[in-house]
Each structure stands twice: as structure tokens, then as C-alpha cells.
Amino acid sequence: MSGFLRADWIRFRHRRDVLVIALALPVLAVVGYASGLTSSGNQFSFDPDFSPPPEILAAMAAERQRFAFPQSVLTLLGSTGIGLLALVYLAVATVGDEIGWSTIRLSLLASSDRRRFLASRFVALGVVTAWIVGSLFVLGVVLPFAAKALGADLPTAPAIDALGTVGYVASILLVAASALSFGILVALLTRSGPAALVVAVIYTLVEAAFGSLPIWQRDDLLAWLPTLLFTTASAALLDQANRAAAAVRPFEELIGSPPPEQPLPHVLSIQAGMLVVLAWGALFLTAAFLRMRRMDIPE
């Protein structure tokens, strides 16, 4: 497989979209951090005489803590949402273009081992994922100190939950791997980068619409069904895992008022969420390999 990986390195190193995404995401994260930090401090600065109510001040302080180490790590990792979209795009584009440009033929004429071709592409995209997640993690550690050095006034943040953070990073990687598998599968099915992108977007919209059908609300058991859908489960998992890692208390607790009476939302636990996302990922990846093995390449 090292040969295919070396080939992927040549492909990726020169592909503009890969470079843009690999470099732009960390840059965007830095910009997001800076603008978030600035705006969290000066919401009311236009009127120096105005003193906001204490619960608002508490919420503002909590908000500002998100930019201080170690909470900053989770804040930065929290911006992987757009990164995941970028990864699906990369999976779809790099696999779809191979078929669209017929270059898959070049690879399969070089070596006809289709499984390795696909496995290597998956690994190569995994490396891009690791780079993105890793760089966000490092930025989460470095940026608060850089901000302090530049004179920003950062509060001390509460500690993060170590195990929860490991779980969060694992969740991000898991969701990313499943998203990559999804992208690869869609590209193999549609046989074209642009068509695959359109299908991926439509799938997400259809899933959202399907999940919000009123029929699910009729029954408590039925209501769990939409939570098992791929994007719903992925989004919920990332959200839950982020909260667990940040060890955040509910907002109501912060402002000191009791939580309002409302029905318990149907949300999968982190472990259950991981299992569901893993199952989807495995399904997508297996389907992609089967498709790759059987498909004719008349391109």
C-alpha cells in the first residue's frame, strides 16, 4: 500500500483544494478565536455607564472563559464542524475526480489492486483529518498564551475533563472517518465529483426533513428513530462529547434559576452515539469497498 500512499501524496500535495483546506481551516480557526475573544469582552463597551444585570455578567464571564486555557482547546476543536464539511468535500472531490477525469484508470493500470487503492485514499484523507484536528488542538493550547502575550485579559478557566476530552477527540475522529466513508461511497456511486457533492448535500437535507417528520413524535419509542440517522447522530455526538469534556454546567444553573419544566429531549448517550456513528461509518466503508470491487471502469 505504501506505493499507493506515495501516489496519493503526489496527488494531494499538488491539489489546490487540499492545500487550501489544510491551510485555511487553521487560519479560519485563529480568526474565529480572535474575533470571538474580542467580541466576548466588549459587548456593552459602547455605553460605559450601563451596568448589565448580574446573570448577564455571569454568562459573559462564562463565555469569556471559553477562550482561556484549557477550555480554549475545546473551543477550537468545536470549530471542526466546518472542517467536517470540508472533509466530505475532499473525499467526494478526490474520489469523484478520479472517475470524472478517468485517472482512476491510470492507477488501476499501474496496479490493479482496487482494495489498496481505496484503502490508501481513505488513509490519505485520514492524514488530512489528523492534520486538521491536530492543528486545531495545538492552536487551542497556543492561542490563549499568544493572546495573553498580546495583552488580552483572559480569566482563569475551569479545568476540562481529561477523559471527556479524550472521548471528544475520539468522537471527532470517528465522525470524520464516517463522513469520509460517506463521501467516498457517494463519489463511487455517482462517478463524478460535482454530482457527488450535490447528492451529499441533498442527502443531508433529506435526512433533516425525514428526521423532523411529525410521525416520530407520536410515540416515545419512535421518537428515538431520527436520532439514529447519520448526520443527526453525528451532530448530537459531537455536541454531547464537547459538553462532557468542557464539564459545563447548564446555563440555567449559571444564572441561578431552576430549569423550566419540559419534556426530556431524545438524545443518545455519548457511548450509544459513538456506536451508531461507528455503525454508519462501517456500513458506508463496506459498501464503498464492495462497490469498488464490483464496479466496471469503462471511463
Binding site: F4, L106, L108, S112, D113, F117, D296, I297
Partner: protein
């Protein structure tokens, strides 16, 4: 059909159906080590489809094929010994020719040092040294075709499969590629060549298969195929002499054809029969002013078999190499 250690390509009942179309319909052929095998057929007859099947890019509906005795399946080790150009070659438009070749070499499992050593000569061989660093997006059709050939030959594969290699090349390029194929054949490579350029096949290939609508209608050595259509051309001084010769041939049950525009006959007999026919006529006091052998061109055989047009192997056919045998 038997298969032995000398067999490089073997197909048995190879069939590929696309929708309702039998692109390739139960074809059997064998290519042996060192052959330069010509694969001919009109547009849409299934040449490229056969090549895709041979390379494991598509899977057969029925039947199968093997390369170096190993069934063609995705991942088959035997395919590593094959270099191929299929239809229009495809390359990464954003990479240079060098990078495209390095990528191909990497995917082929060739280590970096060896790949770097191979790329220069490969580009040189197809005349792309100067354009080596240019991105493929800016390549012309012919340049792409040259790079496709260079890719197929990169690591000196044992079997070279070329699908219309001279497509899109300028006349100089056509000659260069023809010489390249001839030199590869001399070096002992087995070559499977699909082509539209019949003179090219005639000059290069020792065996030929002609494919029509997915079926092989003729297969054999190029020499035999061309020999089958050989005729003797006899020209007399007068129409009267030609008439007497015709009567004589009729009496001996020798098939011939009388030409309308000249006192001449075309006798359906191979060159080896020339002396006998000449003697027969001499005994009857008939001496043709010209006796020559008319060999059909591969083109005429091809057109006849593919039913496009019945072409007379006449002396006026510019690419019919008419070798004079005996002249009285």
C-alpha cells in the same frame, strides 16, 4: 484452445454485454510470447472493450481471460507485468508529465530512485523532454497520446497493450511510434496492438484478429491472411488472346475474372501457382505480356470481412504491394 507456458493472453468465450448491446460476444484468441498481435475492427466493434476486459478494468458477462496463465481479476499479480494505453490516455491535469509518471510509478510499487531514473528516458523516448515540466492541462491531444505511450512503456513491461497508439499523432509521430513498436518487438516484448491504421498493422504484426460487431471473423498470421487473397494478373496483347486464355482456364476449372477495361485476367491462384499457369498458357501458344502477383492489402481483406465495401485488389490500389513474380 490449449494453453501453455508460451501463452501470454488467452481468452475463452469472452463476452461483455452493456445494456442490450453485446459489445464483445464470445471471443477466443491466444497471444503467444513475442507476438505482435494486431487487433482490428471497425468503430464500435469491441476492441477497447476487449482491452478493458484483458486489463481487469471491467468484468466479463460470460467467459474469461487470463494473462501469463493467471485469470484476470482485480489485483491479479500478472497485471503488474502489463503496460497499457487504453483509448484516450487520462492524466491528472494539474500535474506535470514528470509528476504524472512518478505517480504512476509509485502506484506501480516502483521505488522512488528507480522511478526517477525511469522517467527521463521514458519522456525522451516519446519526445516530451522539453514539455516534461508543463502541466497536463496544457497538453495537446498528440502530446497526451505520447505521454500515454511513455507511461505504458515506463518500466519495460513484458506485455504491452496499445489501443490505437497513433491516434492524434502527427505524421512524424506516427512513424516514430511505428519504429518504437518495431524496436520493442525486436527486444522481445509481446505486443497487443489495436489499430485503425491497417498499413501499420500490416507492417508490424505477425498475427491479426479481425473483430466485427463483437465477434472475431478472422484470425491468423498476417502472411496467411494476405496470402489467401493472392491472385495472378495476366495481361495480353489483344482481347482475342485474353478470350482464348479464358476458355483454356475454364476448361481446367481454374477460377478467374476477366477485366472489362483491358485484355487482362485475374486468376484466383497464389504466387506459387504462377509457373504452372504460365506453362499451361505457353503450351497453348499464349504468352501474356505481363504476369504479376496481386496481393491484397490488409485494408482490402479488412473491408471485405467487415462488409463495409467489397474492394478489388487491383494494381491501382496505392497501398497494395504488388510484387512481380514472373514476367515472360
Amino acid at each position: 484452445m490449449t494453453s501453455d507456458a508460451d501463452t501470454v493472453i488467452q481468452t475463452t468465450g469472452l463476452t461483455k454485454r452493456f445494456g442490450g448491446v453485446d459489445a464483445v460476444n464470445g471471443i477466443d484468441f491466444q497471444v503467444r510470447h513475442g507476438d505482435v498481435y494486431g487487433f482490428l475492427g471497425p468503430n464500435g466493434s469491441g476492441k477497447t472493450t476487449t482491452i478493458r476486459l484483458l486489463l481487469g478494468l471491467i468484468s466479463p458477462t460470460r467467459g474469461g481471460c487470463s494473462i501469463f496463465g493467471e485469470p484476470v481479476l482485480p489485483g491479479a499479480a500478472a497485471l503488474r507485468c502489463v503496460g497499457a494505453l487504453v483509448e484516450r490516455p487520462a492524466f491528472y491535469p494539474y500535474l506535470s508529465a514528470v509528476d504524472n509518471l512518478l505517480l504512476y510509478a509509485a502506484a506501480r510499487g516502483i521505488d522512488r530512485d528507480r522511478a526517477t531514473r525511469l522517467v527521463g528516458p521514458a519522456l525522451e523516448r516519446v519526445g516530451l523532454t522539453e514539455a516534461a515540466r508543463r502541466k497536463l492541462a496544457g497538453y495537446s491531444t498528440g502530446m497526451r497520446q505520447r505521454l500515454g505511450i511513455g507511461t505504458a512503456l515506463l518500466d519495460g513491461p513484458e506485455l504491452i497493450v496499445l489501443d490505437e497508439p497513433t491516434n492524434g499523432l502527427d505524421p512524424g509521430g506516427v512513424v516514430e511510434v511505428r519504429q518504437l513498436i518495431a524496436s520493442l518487438a525486436r527486444e522481445g516484448a509481446t505486443i497487443f496492438l489495436s489499430s485503425h491504421v491497417l498499413t501499420e498493422v500490416e507492417q508490424l504484426c505477425d498475427r491479426v484478429a479481425i473483430l466485427v460487431r463483437g465477434r472475431i471473423v478472422s484470425e491468423g498470421s498476417t502472411r496467411d491472411m494476405l496470402g489467401e487473397g493472392e491472385r495472378l494478373f495476366l495481361r495480353f496483347e489483344t482481347g482475342d488472346e485474353a478470350g482464348r486464355a479464358a476458355t483454356l482456364l475454364n476448361q481446367r476449372d481454374i477460377a478467374f475474372e476477366r477485366l472489362d477495361d483491358a485484355p487482362a485476367l485475374l486468376v484466383s491462384a497464389p504466387a506459387s501457382e504462377g509457373a504452372r499457369v504460365n506453362r499451361l498458357l505457353g503450351e497453348a501458344g499464349l504468352y501474356p505480356g505481363e504476369l504479376s502477383v496481386r496481393r491484397p492489402s490488409l485494408e482490402s481483406v479488412f473491408l471485405e470481412l467487415t462488409g463495409d465495401r467489397a474492394v478489388e485488389p487491383t494494381a491501382s490500389a496505392p497501398d497494395a504491394p504488388a510484387a512481380p513474380a514472373t514476367v515472360t
